[in-house]
Amino acid sequence: MKLAIASGKGGTGKSMVAANLAFTLSTTDKVTLVDCDVEEPNLHLFFPAPAMMTEVTVPVPVVDETTCQHCGKCGEFCQYGALTVLSKRVLFFPELCHSCGGCMLVCPNDAIHEEPKRIGTLSISMPQPGLKLISGTLDTGSPHAVPVIRAAKKLAAQDPVVILDTAPGTSCPVVEALDGCDACILVTESTPFGLHDLQLAVDVVARLGIPAGIVINRSDGKDAETLRFCTDHDLEVMMTIPFSCEIAAIQSRGDLLCRERPEWQKDFCALYAKCRALAGVDE
């Protein structure tokens, strides 16, 4: 079971839902929690533990200027403007390169080879029995989040229960995290922004063919518009978490609702059961 937690709008409580769900399930099952919000991962704050680190690299071209005839074929081929061929030298802009390897293939003089370039790190920890946490972190200044997300997911590929906390929004990093998931929880909040961005996120998961259900977080009870949208689009509201000072205080301390208030564990267990039903996984 691969379950993604996404949102559209940022700050709705993806990580809160992911952390509490993983914590609750890990009391009875083996769970892997993957922080796919590699531009600002935060799940490690809820689960401090010593971690093993590995580097994430991508291949980038290196031009051998002694073999290069400056014919310009690589520069013409590159759709991202990463290579500019001048009469006596080649300029390479690594931040524009998408590591497609095409320049190496089109070079008639075999003057290009690839070398790994570090773009981020993965950290793996076992913060408590039953729980493995994998966090991807993109290096500052590195523009490509997708390869770091892909590497983080690969580490969890064989694990039986995987919960993936995605980045907010609907762009490439979110699509990469969602790709291949069996079901998705979309977390929203009782605001016009929450609903607007939920609509975008619903569109994305529909196009990816991933069944989705809704969690309304910080509900002030005025959810009529969100509920109407969910009814119209055949989306189940699987859980509603109230707007509560106590929950906010627990969260702000870096604590977990389900650890501080264990009575919430049954709600998160019920949420997971609904996700399994969404995904069509037999109990």
């Binding site: 403007g81 500019t84 524009l96």
Partner: protein, 119 residues
Amino acid sequence: MSKNNGAIMKICFTAKGTTLDAQTEERFGRAPYFILVDSENGSFETIQNPFADGGGGVGPKAAQVLIANNVKALVSGQVGGNAQEVLAAAGIAMYTYRAAGSVRDAFDQFTKNTLERSV
């Protein structure tokens, strides 16, 4: 491609239209047109920028168009870092013009040497 031998100086102006009366365009990589003016006799040719609506990395790509056309100087409002690096490496001088006037006006100012050289 250019046939000239480098004796004549070609100046590139970024423009919103195709003639000398067109308004100048502030952006370099996403300028709709490049108007290449011959500094000796004022004749010009217009190139449609194929990267004006490109996804990314348009700066270096547009700079390559200038290199291929043997341009010696660029007059534009705003040239990005990557494009600047390419143009500087190719020895193309860069001048800033932000008055939003016509290409003709920018060319006048260039010939009077009143434009600020950025690189």
